[in-house]
Symmetry: none
Subunit: 264 residues, 2 copies
Amino acid sequence: MSQAVGVKVDRLDAIRSHLYANGFSTIQALADAIGASLATVRRDLQILEQEGAIDRVHGGARIAEGSSVEVAFQEREKRHLSAKRAIATAAYDLLHPRTAIFLDAGTTVLQLARLVRINPMPLRIFTNGLTVAQEFLNIPNLEVVLLGGQLRSENASLVGPQAEAMLETLWFDQLFLGASAISADGAIYSVDSAEASLNRRMLARSANRFVLADSSKFGTTATYKVAPLDNAKVITDSGLSRHWRDELVNFGVDATIADLRAKE
Amino acid sequence: MSQAVGVKVDRLDAIRSHLYANGFSTIQALADAIGASLATVRRDLQILEQEGAIDRVHGGARIAEGSSVEVAFQEREKRHLSAKRAIATAAYDLLHPRTAIFLDAGTTVLQLARLVRINPMPLRIFTNGLTVAQEFLNIPNLEVVLLGGQLRSENASLVGPQAEAMLETLWFDQLFLGASAISADGAIYSVDSAEASLNRRMLARSANRFVLADSSKFGTTATYKVAPLDNAKVITDSGLSRHWRDELVNFGVDATIADLRAKE
DNA sequence: TTTCAAATGATCAATGTCAATCAATTTTAT
DNA sequence: ATAAAATTGATTGACATTGATCATTTGAAA
Protein backbone atom coordinates (compact mmCIF):
# COMPACT_ATOMS: atom_id res chain seq x y z
CA MET A 1 0.00 0.00 0.00
CA SER A 2 2.67 2.46 1.01
CA GLN A 3 4.84 3.98 -1.63
CA ALA A 4 8.58 4.06 -1.63
CA VAL A 5 9.79 6.96 0.46
CA GLY A 6 12.99 8.39 -0.87
CA VAL A 7 13.86 11.27 1.39
CA LYS A 8 15.26 10.73 4.83
CA VAL A 9 12.91 13.01 6.74
CA ASP A 10 9.91 11.42 5.09
CA ARG A 11 11.28 8.01 5.90
CA LEU A 12 11.68 8.83 9.54
CA ASP A 13 8.14 10.15 9.64
CA ALA A 14 6.90 7.05 7.91
CA ILE A 15 8.70 4.82 10.38
CA ARG A 16 7.34 6.76 13.34
CA SER A 17 3.89 6.57 11.88
CA HIS A 18 4.11 2.90 11.07
CA LEU A 19 5.43 2.06 14.50
CA TYR A 20 2.83 4.14 16.21
CA ALA A 21 0.01 2.52 14.27
CA ASN A 22 1.25 -1.01 14.83
CA GLY A 23 3.00 -0.64 18.15
CA PHE A 24 5.78 -2.92 16.99
CA SER A 25 7.31 -3.87 13.69
CA THR A 26 10.10 -6.03 12.40
CA ILE A 27 12.81 -4.41 10.38
CA GLN A 28 11.80 -6.39 7.34
CA ALA A 29 8.23 -5.16 7.61
CA LEU A 30 9.42 -1.59 7.91
CA ALA A 31 11.71 -2.02 4.91
CA ASP A 32 8.81 -3.38 2.88
CA ALA A 33 6.44 -0.64 3.96
CA ILE A 34 8.89 2.11 3.24
CA GLY A 35 10.65 0.70 0.24
CA ALA A 36 14.15 0.99 1.62
CA SER A 37 16.81 -1.59 2.34
CA LEU A 38 17.26 -3.26 5.66
CA ALA A 39 20.51 -1.42 6.22
CA THR A 40 18.85 1.94 5.74
CA VAL A 41 16.02 1.08 8.05
CA ARG A 42 18.51 0.05 10.69
CA ARG A 43 20.31 3.34 10.37
CA ASP A 44 17.05 5.24 10.60
CA LEU A 45 16.09 3.31 13.67
CA GLN A 46 19.39 4.25 15.27
CA ILE A 47 18.54 7.90 14.75
CA LEU A 48 15.05 7.54 16.11
CA GLU A 49 16.37 5.67 19.07
CA GLN A 50 18.73 8.53 19.88
CA GLU A 51 15.83 10.92 19.66
CA GLY A 52 14.10 8.77 22.22
CA ALA A 53 11.13 8.25 19.97
CA ILE A 54 11.48 4.48 19.74
CA ASP A 55 12.94 1.49 21.53
CA ARG A 56 14.96 -0.94 19.53
CA VAL A 57 14.80 -4.60 20.37
CA HIS A 58 16.22 -7.67 18.74
CA GLY A 59 14.12 -8.31 15.69
CA GLY A 60 12.55 -4.90 15.29
CA ALA A 61 11.51 -1.76 17.06
CA ARG A 62 8.61 -0.24 18.94
CA ILE A 63 7.56 3.18 20.08
CA ALA A 64 9.33 4.20 23.24
CA GLU A 65 7.68 3.53 26.53
CA GLY A 66 6.89 6.71 28.39
CA SER A 67 9.31 7.41 31.16
CA SER A 68 12.46 6.39 29.37
CA VAL A 69 13.05 10.07 28.74
CA GLU A 70 14.38 10.82 32.17
CA VAL A 71 17.84 9.49 31.57
CA ALA A 72 19.62 12.62 32.71
CA PHE A 73 17.47 12.79 35.81
CA GLN A 74 18.16 9.18 36.68
CA GLU A 75 21.88 9.75 36.41
CA ARG A 76 21.66 12.65 38.80
CA GLU A 77 19.60 10.51 41.10
CA LYS A 78 22.41 7.99 41.40
CA ARG A 79 25.10 10.47 42.37
CA HIS A 80 25.97 10.30 46.04
CA LEU A 81 23.17 7.83 46.39
CA SER A 82 24.33 6.34 49.68
CA ALA A 83 24.59 9.82 51.19
CA LYS A 84 21.11 10.66 49.97
CA ARG A 85 19.76 7.46 51.42
CA ALA A 86 21.35 8.13 54.79
CA ILE A 87 19.91 11.63 54.80
CA ALA A 88 16.50 10.37 53.80
CA THR A 89 16.56 7.82 56.61
CA ALA A 90 17.32 10.54 59.13
CA ALA A 91 14.49 12.63 57.72
CA TYR A 92 12.09 9.71 57.83
CA ASP A 93 12.62 9.43 61.58
CA LEU A 94 11.27 12.96 61.93
CA LEU A 95 7.90 12.12 60.41
CA HIS A 96 4.78 11.90 62.53
CA PRO A 97 1.64 10.04 61.47
CA ARG A 98 -1.33 12.11 60.38
CA THR A 99 0.62 15.30 59.81
CA ALA A 100 0.88 17.38 56.65
CA ILE A 101 4.27 17.44 55.00
CA PHE A 102 5.62 19.04 51.86
CA LEU A 103 8.20 17.23 49.75
CA ASP A 104 10.23 19.31 47.35
CA ALA A 105 11.12 18.04 43.89
CA GLY A 106 14.73 17.06 44.41
CA THR A 107 16.63 13.82 44.10
CA THR A 108 17.44 13.67 47.81
CA VAL A 109 13.84 14.27 48.78
CA LEU A 110 12.87 11.58 46.30
CA GLN A 111 14.77 9.10 48.43
CA LEU A 112 12.66 10.14 51.36
CA ALA A 113 9.57 9.58 49.26
CA ARG A 114 10.81 6.08 48.47
CA LEU A 115 11.22 5.37 52.15
CA VAL A 116 7.68 6.48 52.84
CA ARG A 117 6.43 4.27 50.05
CA ILE A 118 8.25 1.22 51.34
CA ASN A 119 7.41 1.98 54.95
CA PRO A 120 4.07 3.76 54.78
CA MET A 121 2.41 5.74 57.52
CA PRO A 122 -0.76 7.79 57.30
CA LEU A 123 0.22 11.22 56.03
CA ARG A 124 -1.04 14.12 54.01
CA ILE A 125 1.70 14.66 51.47
CA PHE A 126 2.07 17.73 49.31
CA THR A 127 4.66 18.00 46.59
CA ASN A 128 5.58 19.82 43.41
CA GLY A 129 7.56 16.88 42.07
CA LEU A 130 6.13 14.59 39.44
CA THR A 131 8.43 11.73 40.33
CA VAL A 132 7.71 12.20 44.01
CA ALA A 133 3.97 11.99 43.40
CA GLN A 134 4.47 8.92 41.28
CA GLU A 135 6.10 7.10 44.16
CA PHE A 136 2.85 7.32 46.06
CA LEU A 137 0.53 5.81 43.49
CA ASN A 138 -1.50 3.01 45.04
CA ILE A 139 -0.14 3.46 48.54
CA PRO A 140 -2.98 3.25 51.06
CA ASN A 141 -3.55 5.77 53.84
CA LEU A 142 -1.83 8.55 51.97
CA GLU A 143 -3.51 11.68 50.79
CA VAL A 144 -1.31 13.07 48.07
CA VAL A 145 -1.75 16.55 46.64
CA LEU A 146 0.32 17.75 43.73
CA LEU A 147 0.88 21.44 43.17
CA GLY A 148 -0.33 22.69 39.82
CA GLY A 149 1.82 24.72 37.51
CA GLN A 150 4.24 24.71 34.67
CA LEU A 151 6.22 21.54 34.09
CA ARG A 152 9.97 21.97 34.34
CA SER A 153 11.59 19.11 32.48
CA GLU A 154 15.00 19.28 34.14
CA ASN A 155 13.75 17.76 37.36
CA ALA A 156 10.11 17.02 36.59
CA SER A 157 8.89 19.73 38.92
CA LEU A 158 5.94 22.08 38.79
CA VAL A 159 6.69 25.76 39.18
CA GLY A 160 5.34 29.17 38.34
CA PRO A 161 2.65 31.52 39.59
CA GLN A 162 -0.02 28.83 39.67
CA ALA A 163 2.09 26.67 41.95
CA GLU A 164 2.83 29.65 44.18
CA ALA A 165 -0.81 30.64 44.34
CA MET A 166 -1.79 27.16 45.38
CA LEU A 167 0.86 27.19 48.08
CA GLU A 168 -0.72 30.29 49.60
CA THR A 169 -3.79 28.28 50.51
CA LEU A 170 -1.84 25.56 52.30
CA TRP A 171 0.06 25.11 55.54
CA PHE A 172 2.45 22.29 56.39
CA ASP A 173 3.74 20.81 59.59
CA GLN A 174 7.03 19.89 57.97
CA LEU A 175 8.83 20.91 54.83
CA PHE A 176 11.60 18.82 53.29
CA LEU A 177 13.50 20.95 50.85
CA GLY A 178 16.30 19.99 48.47
CA ALA A 179 19.06 22.33 47.40
CA SER A 180 21.16 22.75 44.28
CA ALA A 181 23.94 24.37 46.25
CA ILE A 182 24.81 25.84 49.61
CA SER A 183 27.12 28.81 49.29
CA ALA A 184 30.09 29.73 51.45
CA ASP A 185 28.10 32.45 53.14
CA GLY A 186 25.45 29.99 54.22
CA ALA A 187 22.61 30.41 51.78
CA ILE A 188 20.56 27.94 49.79
CA TYR A 189 20.83 28.35 46.03
CA SER A 190 18.88 26.96 43.11
CA VAL A 191 19.69 26.63 39.42
CA ASP A 192 16.28 27.89 38.39
CA SER A 193 14.61 31.22 39.06
CA ALA A 194 11.05 29.92 39.26
CA GLU A 195 12.15 27.07 41.46
CA ALA A 196 13.93 29.44 43.83
CA SER A 197 10.91 31.65 44.10
CA LEU A 198 8.66 28.69 44.77
CA ASN A 199 11.06 27.36 47.39
CA ARG A 200 10.80 30.64 49.26
CA ARG A 201 7.05 30.32 49.33
CA MET A 202 7.37 26.77 50.66
CA LEU A 203 9.55 28.00 53.51
CA ALA A 204 6.99 30.65 54.34
CA ARG A 205 4.16 28.17 54.55
CA SER A 206 5.75 25.55 56.83
CA ALA A 207 6.07 25.28 60.57
CA ASN A 208 9.21 23.10 60.54
CA ARG A 209 11.68 23.43 57.72
CA PHE A 210 14.38 20.92 56.81
CA VAL A 211 16.94 21.27 54.09
CA LEU A 212 18.16 17.92 52.76
CA ALA A 213 21.57 18.35 51.18
CA ASP A 214 24.40 15.86 50.85
CA SER A 215 27.84 17.05 51.84
CA SER A 216 28.98 17.63 48.27
CA LYS A 217 26.56 20.54 47.97
CA PHE A 218 28.30 22.61 50.63
CA GLY A 219 30.64 25.30 49.42
CA THR A 220 29.17 25.34 45.92
CA THR A 221 26.95 27.94 44.37
CA ALA A 222 24.19 28.14 41.81
CA THR A 223 22.57 31.12 40.14
CA TYR A 224 19.50 31.93 42.18
CA LYS A 225 19.46 32.50 45.91
CA VAL A 226 16.60 30.88 47.78
CA ALA A 227 17.08 31.85 51.40
CA PRO A 228 19.68 31.93 54.18
CA LEU A 229 20.31 28.59 55.79
CA ASP A 230 19.18 29.67 59.23
CA ASN A 231 15.62 29.62 57.98
CA ALA A 232 15.70 25.87 58.31
CA LYS A 233 17.34 22.91 59.93
CA VAL A 234 19.88 21.02 57.88
CA ILE A 235 20.14 17.30 57.35
CA THR A 236 23.34 16.19 55.67
CA ASP A 237 25.76 13.27 55.71
CA SER A 238 28.92 12.51 57.62
CA GLY A 239 31.05 13.35 54.59
CA LEU A 240 30.78 16.99 55.63
CA SER A 241 34.13 18.67 56.25
CA ARG A 242 35.31 19.83 59.65
CA HIS A 243 35.25 23.37 58.31
CA TRP A 244 31.60 23.20 57.33
CA ARG A 245 30.55 21.62 60.58
CA ASP A 246 32.06 24.61 62.35
CA GLU A 247 30.50 27.00 59.89
CA LEU A 248 27.06 25.58 60.52
CA VAL A 249 27.55 26.22 64.21
CA ASN A 250 28.68 29.76 63.42
CA PHE A 251 25.63 30.35 61.30
CA GLY A 252 23.50 29.14 64.16
CA VAL A 253 22.07 26.36 62.04
CA ASP A 254 20.65 23.25 63.66
CA ALA A 255 22.23 20.38 61.72
CA THR A 256 21.65 16.66 61.74
CA ILE A 257 24.51 14.63 60.34
CA ALA A 258 23.45 11.21 59.07
CA ASP A 259 26.11 8.55 59.41
CA LEU A 260 27.09 7.13 56.04
CA ARG A 261 28.14 3.80 57.50
CA ALA A 262 24.97 3.32 59.50
CA LYS A 263 23.07 0.54 57.93
CA GLU A 264 19.62 1.47 59.21
CA MET B 1 -7.47 -17.15 18.21
CA SER B 2 -4.01 -15.87 18.80
CA GLN B 3 -1.57 -15.60 15.96
CA ALA B 4 1.92 -16.91 15.99
CA VAL B 5 4.17 -14.36 17.61
CA GLY B 6 7.58 -14.47 16.07
CA VAL B 7 9.55 -11.84 17.92
CA LYS B 8 10.71 -11.95 21.48
CA VAL B 9 9.25 -8.69 22.79
CA ASP B 10 5.89 -9.51 21.27
CA ARG B 11 6.00 -12.89 22.94
CA LEU B 12 6.82 -11.42 26.31
CA ASP B 13 3.92 -9.02 25.99
CA ALA B 14 1.64 -11.82 24.90
CA ILE B 15 2.66 -13.96 27.86
CA ARG B 16 2.16 -11.12 30.31
CA SER B 17 -1.22 -10.42 28.84
CA HIS B 18 -2.25 -14.07 28.74
CA LEU B 19 -1.22 -14.58 32.33
CA TYR B 20 -2.95 -11.43 33.44
CA ALA B 21 -6.16 -12.54 31.77
CA ASN B 22 -6.08 -16.12 33.08
CA GLY B 23 -4.12 -15.73 36.28
CA PHE B 24 -2.33 -18.99 35.64
CA SER B 25 -1.33 -20.95 32.58
CA THR B 26 0.56 -24.12 31.77
CA ILE B 27 3.59 -23.90 29.58
CA GLN B 28 1.90 -25.99 26.94
CA ALA B 29 -1.07 -23.63 26.87
CA LEU B 30 1.21 -20.65 26.52
CA ALA B 31 3.16 -22.35 23.76
CA ASP B 32 -0.06 -23.09 21.90
CA ALA B 33 -1.42 -19.60 22.38
CA ILE B 34 1.75 -17.96 21.25
CA GLY B 35 2.90 -20.38 18.63
CA ALA B 36 6.35 -20.99 20.06
CA SER B 37 8.09 -24.10 21.28
CA LEU B 38 8.07 -25.20 24.88
CA ALA B 39 11.76 -24.43 25.21
CA THR B 40 11.24 -20.88 24.07
CA VAL B 41 8.34 -20.30 26.40
CA ARG B 42 10.46 -21.54 29.27
CA ARG B 43 13.22 -19.15 28.39
CA ASP B 44 10.73 -16.31 28.17
CA LEU B 45 9.30 -17.21 31.53
CA GLN B 46 12.79 -17.10 33.00
CA ILE B 47 13.15 -13.55 31.76
CA LEU B 48 9.77 -12.49 33.06
CA GLU B 49 10.52 -14.09 36.38
CA GLN B 50 13.72 -12.10 36.66
CA GLU B 51 11.75 -8.96 35.92
CA GLY B 52 9.52 -9.92 38.77
CA ALA B 53 6.45 -9.82 36.57
CA ILE B 54 5.49 -13.45 37.11
CA ASP B 55 5.96 -16.33 39.50
CA ARG B 56 6.93 -19.67 38.05
CA VAL B 57 5.57 -22.88 39.47
CA HIS B 58 6.01 -26.44 38.36
CA GLY B 59 3.91 -26.90 35.26
CA GLY B 60 3.32 -23.27 34.45
CA ALA B 61 3.43 -19.71 35.68
CA ARG B 62 1.22 -17.11 37.30
CA ILE B 63 1.14 -13.36 37.69
CA ALA B 64 3.36 -12.06 40.48
CA GLU B 65 1.52 -10.98 43.58
CA GLY B 66 2.85 -7.47 44.07
CA SER B 67 2.90 -6.12 40.56
CA SER B 68 -0.71 -6.78 39.74
CA VAL B 69 -1.77 -3.20 40.45
CA GLU B 70 0.55 -1.62 37.97
CA VAL B 71 -0.11 -4.33 35.47
CA ALA B 72 -3.81 -3.53 35.70
CA PHE B 73 -3.18 -0.01 34.44
CA GLN B 74 -0.93 -1.21 31.66
CA GLU B 75 -3.43 -3.80 30.61
CA ARG B 76 -6.18 -1.23 30.54
CA GLU B 77 -3.94 0.89 28.39
CA LYS B 78 -3.50 -1.96 25.96
CA ARG B 79 -7.15 -2.86 25.66
CA HIS B 80 -8.53 -1.80 22.31
CA LEU B 81 -5.14 -0.31 21.69
CA SER B 82 -5.43 -0.18 17.93
CA ALA B 83 -8.77 1.58 18.24
CA LYS B 84 -7.30 4.07 20.66
CA ARG B 85 -4.38 4.71 18.36
CA ALA B 86 -6.63 5.22 15.39
CA ILE B 87 -8.73 7.66 17.40
CA ALA B 88 -5.64 9.46 18.63
CA THR B 89 -4.37 9.79 15.08
CA ALA B 90 -7.65 11.39 14.00
CA ALA B 91 -7.47 13.75 16.97
CA TYR B 92 -3.87 14.64 16.19
CA ASP B 93 -4.94 15.88 12.77
CA LEU B 94 -7.17 18.41 14.51
CA LEU B 95 -4.29 20.07 16.35
CA HIS B 96 -3.03 23.48 15.35
CA PRO B 97 0.41 24.76 16.26
CA ARG B 98 0.64 27.36 19.00
CA THR B 99 -2.83 26.75 20.40
CA ALA B 100 -3.81 25.83 23.94
CA ILE B 101 -5.23 22.35 24.42
CA PHE B 102 -6.37 20.38 27.41
CA LEU B 103 -5.72 16.66 27.62
CA ASP B 104 -7.82 14.64 30.02
CA ALA B 105 -6.32 11.81 32.08
CA GLY B 106 -7.61 8.81 30.13
CA THR B 107 -5.89 5.98 28.34
CA THR B 108 -7.20 7.03 24.95
CA VAL B 109 -6.05 10.59 25.46
CA LEU B 110 -2.72 9.19 26.57
CA GLN B 111 -2.27 7.78 23.10
CA LEU B 112 -2.80 11.25 21.69
CA ALA B 113 -0.17 12.56 24.08
CA ARG B 114 2.20 9.89 22.90
CA LEU B 115 1.59 10.89 19.33
CA VAL B 116 2.37 14.51 20.14
CA ARG B 117 5.56 13.42 21.82
CA ILE B 118 6.69 11.38 18.87
CA ASN B 119 5.65 14.01 16.37
CA PRO B 120 5.98 17.27 18.25
CA MET B 121 4.51 20.63 17.35
CA PRO B 122 4.61 23.84 19.37
CA LEU B 123 1.66 23.75 21.77
CA ARG B 124 0.55 24.88 25.16
CA ILE B 125 -0.68 21.72 26.79
CA PHE B 126 -2.75 21.52 29.94
CA THR B 127 -3.63 18.26 31.63
CA ASN B 128 -4.71 16.70 34.88
CA GLY B 129 -3.01 13.39 34.08
CA LEU B 130 0.30 12.46 35.62
CA THR B 131 1.12 9.98 32.88
CA VAL B 132 0.12 12.48 30.24
CA ALA B 133 2.44 15.12 31.68
CA GLN B 134 5.21 12.59 31.91
CA GLU B 135 5.03 11.95 28.19
CA PHE B 136 6.06 15.53 27.57
CA LEU B 137 9.20 15.65 29.68
CA ASN B 138 12.10 16.99 27.67
CA ILE B 139 10.08 17.67 24.54
CA PRO B 140 11.08 21.02 23.10
CA ASN B 141 8.61 23.72 22.11
CA LEU B 142 5.97 22.51 24.48
CA GLU B 143 4.66 24.46 27.41
CA VAL B 144 3.11 21.94 29.75
CA VAL B 145 0.93 22.89 32.69
CA LEU B 146 -0.35 20.31 35.11
CA LEU B 147 -3.44 20.96 37.16
CA GLY B 148 -2.89 20.80 40.88
CA GLY B 149 -5.04 18.74 43.17
CA GLN B 150 -5.53 15.47 44.90
CA LEU B 151 -3.87 12.44 43.36
CA ARG B 152 -6.24 9.72 42.30
CA SER B 153 -4.31 6.48 42.08
CA GLU B 154 -6.68 4.56 39.83
CA ASN B 155 -5.67 6.50 36.75
CA ALA B 156 -2.96 8.81 38.08
CA SER B 157 -5.14 11.88 37.70
CA LEU B 158 -5.45 15.05 39.73
CA VAL B 159 -8.90 15.99 40.92
CA GLY B 160 -10.69 17.93 43.60
CA PRO B 161 -11.50 21.53 44.40
CA GLN B 162 -7.96 22.74 43.81
CA ALA B 163 -7.95 21.33 40.30
CA GLU B 164 -11.35 22.87 39.61
CA ALA B 165 -10.26 26.23 40.96
CA MET B 166 -7.23 26.23 38.72
CA LEU B 167 -9.39 25.39 35.73
CA GLU B 168 -11.47 28.50 36.35
CA THR B 169 -8.48 30.66 35.50
CA LEU B 170 -7.81 28.98 32.19
CA TRP B 171 -9.31 28.79 28.74
CA PHE B 172 -8.54 26.25 26.03
CA ASP B 173 -8.89 26.20 22.28
CA GLN B 174 -9.45 22.46 22.28
CA LEU B 175 -10.38 19.90 24.89
CA PHE B 176 -9.76 16.20 24.43
CA LEU B 177 -11.80 14.29 26.93
CA GLY B 178 -11.86 10.59 27.67
CA ALA B 179 -14.90 8.72 28.87
CA SER B 180 -15.49 5.71 31.07
CA ALA B 181 -18.82 5.00 29.39
CA ILE B 182 -21.36 6.45 27.02
CA SER B 183 -24.89 5.54 28.02
CA ALA B 184 -27.76 4.50 25.81
CA ASP B 185 -29.38 7.89 26.23
CA GLY B 186 -26.29 9.63 24.95
CA ALA B 187 -24.45 10.91 27.99
CA ILE B 188 -20.85 10.70 29.09
CA TYR B 189 -20.30 8.84 32.33
CA SER B 190 -17.36 8.49 34.68
CA VAL B 191 -16.52 5.98 37.39
CA ASP B 192 -15.47 8.69 39.81
CA SER B 193 -17.43 11.55 41.28
CA ALA B 194 -14.59 14.03 41.53
CA GLU B 195 -13.45 13.16 38.04
CA ALA B 196 -16.93 13.72 36.64
CA SER B 197 -17.21 17.07 38.33
CA LEU B 198 -13.83 18.12 37.00
CA ASN B 199 -14.72 16.96 33.51
CA ARG B 200 -17.73 19.25 33.55
CA ARG B 201 -15.51 22.18 34.40
CA MET B 202 -13.20 21.26 31.53
CA LEU B 203 -16.09 21.30 29.10
CA ALA B 204 -17.12 24.72 30.36
CA ARG B 205 -13.66 26.16 29.82
CA SER B 206 -13.02 25.03 26.26
CA ALA B 207 -13.98 26.45 22.90
CA ASN B 208 -13.87 23.14 21.02
CA ARG B 209 -14.68 19.95 22.84
CA PHE B 210 -13.85 16.43 21.65
CA VAL B 211 -14.73 13.21 23.38
CA LEU B 212 -12.34 10.39 22.56
CA ALA B 213 -14.06 7.07 23.12
CA ASP B 214 -13.45 3.75 21.42
CA SER B 215 -16.49 1.91 20.16
CA SER B 216 -16.59 -0.50 23.09
CA LYS B 217 -17.57 2.35 25.40
CA PHE B 218 -20.89 2.98 23.66
CA GLY B 219 -23.96 1.51 25.26
CA THR B 220 -22.25 1.03 28.62
CA THR B 221 -22.75 2.99 31.78
CA ALA B 222 -20.78 4.06 34.81
CA THR B 223 -21.85 5.63 38.05
CA TYR B 224 -21.44 9.37 37.61
CA LYS B 225 -22.89 11.37 34.76
CA VAL B 226 -20.59 13.98 33.25
CA ALA B 227 -22.60 15.67 30.54
CA PRO B 228 -24.80 14.96 27.53
CA LEU B 229 -22.88 14.00 24.43
CA ASP B 230 -24.07 16.94 22.38
CA ASN B 231 -21.81 19.17 24.40
CA ALA B 232 -18.95 17.89 22.34
CA LYS B 233 -17.86 16.28 19.12
CA VAL B 234 -17.12 12.58 19.25
CA ILE B 235 -14.12 10.76 17.86
CA THR B 236 -14.47 7.00 17.85
CA ASP B 237 -13.41 4.04 15.74
CA SER B 238 -14.97 2.12 12.90
CA GLY B 239 -15.97 -0.70 15.21
CA LEU B 240 -19.02 1.35 16.11
CA SER B 241 -22.31 -0.44 15.43
CA ARG B 242 -24.77 0.65 12.79
CA HIS B 243 -27.22 1.34 15.59
CA TRP B 244 -24.92 3.74 17.37
CA ARG B 245 -23.98 5.55 14.20
CA ASP B 246 -27.66 6.26 13.72
CA GLU B 247 -28.08 7.23 17.34
CA LEU B 248 -25.29 9.75 17.12
CA VAL B 249 -27.08 11.34 14.18
CA ASN B 250 -30.30 11.36 16.20
CA PHE B 251 -28.58 13.01 19.11
CA GLY B 252 -27.25 15.62 16.74
CA VAL B 253 -23.69 14.76 17.62
CA ASP B 254 -20.89 15.52 15.22
CA ALA B 255 -18.89 12.29 15.06
CA THR B 256 -15.58 11.41 13.46
CA ILE B 257 -15.06 7.71 12.87
CA ALA B 258 -11.43 6.71 12.61
CA ASP B 259 -10.80 3.77 10.33
CA LEU B 260 -9.19 0.88 12.19
CA ARG B 261 -7.54 -0.51 9.10
CA ALA B 262 -6.07 2.75 7.89
CA LYS B 263 -2.33 2.37 8.09
CA GLU B 264 -1.29 5.98 7.57
C1' DT C 1 8.64 -44.97 50.53
C1' DT C 2 8.91 -46.28 45.84
C1' DT C 3 7.70 -45.59 41.11
C1' DC C 4 6.89 -43.18 36.96
C1' DA C 5 5.27 -39.83 33.88
C1' DA C 6 5.68 -35.11 33.31
C1' DA C 7 8.42 -31.09 33.65
C1' DT C 8 12.82 -28.96 33.59
C1' DG C 9 17.41 -27.23 32.26
C1' DA C 10 21.49 -27.87 29.46
C1' DT C 11 23.37 -28.56 25.00
C1' DC C 12 23.70 -28.14 19.99
C1' DA C 13 22.74 -27.23 15.22
C1' DA C 14 20.16 -24.14 12.29
C1' DT C 15 18.39 -19.95 11.40
C1' DG C 16 17.79 -15.02 11.92
C1' DT C 17 19.56 -10.55 13.25
C1' DC C 18 23.10 -7.05 13.97
C1' DA C 19 26.94 -3.71 13.28
C1' DA C 20 30.84 -2.70 10.45
C1' DT C 21 32.75 -2.13 5.99
C1' DC C 22 32.90 -0.74 1.22
C1' DA C 23 31.52 0.46 -3.36
C1' DA C 24 27.99 2.94 -5.87
C1' DT C 25 25.03 6.67 -6.05
C1' DT C 26 23.00 10.98 -4.87
C1' DT C 27 23.37 15.46 -2.93
C1' DT C 28 25.79 19.63 -1.77
C1' DA C 29 29.28 23.12 -2.10
C1' DT C 30 32.57 25.40 -4.89
C1' DA D 1 31.11 21.33 -14.07
C1' DT D 2 33.80 19.27 -10.68
C1' DA D 3 35.17 17.78 -6.24
C1' DA D 4 33.82 16.69 -1.68
C1' DA D 5 30.52 14.92 1.41
C1' DA D 6 26.66 12.33 2.59
C1' DT D 7 23.55 8.62 1.79
C1' DT D 8 22.42 4.19 0.38
C1' DG D 9 22.41 -0.94 -0.33
C1' DA D 10 24.90 -5.21 -0.37
C1' DT D 11 28.18 -8.24 1.99
C1' DT D 12 30.35 -10.31 5.79
C1' DG D 13 31.67 -12.15 10.26
C1' DA D 14 30.01 -11.95 14.94
C1' DC D 15 26.33 -12.64 17.78
C1' DA D 16 21.57 -13.85 19.42
C1' DT D 17 17.57 -16.64 19.18
C1' DT D 18 15.09 -20.70 18.39
C1' DG D 19 13.51 -25.59 18.54
C1' DA D 20 14.84 -30.37 19.17
C1' DT D 21 17.14 -33.74 21.93
C1' DC D 22 18.51 -35.84 26.22
C1' DA D 23 19.90 -36.43 30.99
C1' DT D 24 18.12 -34.99 35.36
C1' DT D 25 14.76 -33.41 38.63
C1' DT D 26 10.17 -32.97 40.37
C1' DG D 27 5.55 -34.04 42.12
C1' DA D 28 2.03 -37.17 42.81
C1' DA D 29 0.05 -41.75 42.71
C1' DA D 30 0.56 -46.42 44.21
